[in-house]
Amino acid sequence: MSALQPGEPLPELVVTPDKLLPVRYAGASGDFNPIHVDEEFARAVGLPGRILHGLWTMAQVARAHTEAAGGPATLRSLAVQFRGMGLPEQEITVTGTVRTVEDGIATVDAVATQADRPIVRDAVAELDLR
């Protein structure tokens, strides 16, 4: 992949989760924590409403990498820090920069932001380009 050279940006991934996405992801993942699926519960514990699952947002970061590198087999590792909370119906952007490429392994630094706030930061991925 010619784009994955040191210093080059990761192709940007932009996604807007729809209103019921956390409910569908709860079903797909099995994580039915009520802060993700129950609007009343979420508000009762001080949240603005149902919030996105961190691992769904992390999956967007993973997808930005595998789409850039050429498929699911390329992703060797991904580490992230979760910050703040992701909300449905607001655009999320995953951006990144290739740090190094050594022996066919690209190391990429990335972040996921929503409304100019990082919701995933310090993401580091290793991609096997061989």
Binding site: V15, A28, S29, W56, A59, R63, P72
Partner: protein
């Protein structure tokens, strides 16, 4: 926030997850994965896989059942009302495909207290039916002072 470290090192019994073709499609749709390897059986087979390929982050599906007993262990002592998922790392081996049987064990890796917060780190190791490690996960949860 005082934490108890007596559960550090404890490993919980393996939980096994049978990976289904339609579950892969459902998960891929929910996270926006459009690669035909996750949806189109013929495309997956043409690419050399035995069946539909699970996206890497499908680990959330097969490892989560093993995490529950660790998170809820009273000796671990997590206060759920004040817990947030703070960090996550995964390191993958061979790809998981439909038909695989994945066994996951979870170990309490570290419990520490810093700045009035408790940090609980668990390590999950997921192995397929050929004894290949398909994913090692490091799950970090932070509990704020009540």
């Amino acid at each position: 926030m005082p934490v108890s470290t007596r559960a550090v090192g404890r490993t919980f019994p393996a939980a096994t997850y049978a990976v289904g073709r339609e579950k892969i499609r459902e998960y891929a749709l929910a996270v926006g994965e459009t690669d035909p390897l996750h949806h189109d059986l013929e495309a997956a087979r043409r690419a050399g896989y035995a069946d539909l390929v699970a996206p890497p982050m499908f680990v959330a599906v097969y490892a989560a059942p093993a995490l529950g007993p660790a998170l809820f262990d009273p000796e671990v002592g997590i206060d759920f009302a004040h817990m947030v998922h703070a960090g996550q790392e995964f390191r993958w081996g061979p790809l998981v495909v439909a038909g695989d049987e994945i066994a996951t064990t979870v170990t309490v890796h570290e419990i520490t207290e810093r700045d009035g917060r408790g940090f609980y780190t668990f390590v999950s190791t997921s192995t397929n039916q050929r004894d290949e490690i398909v994913c090692v996960g490091t799950w970090t949860n932070v509990v704020r002072e009540a």
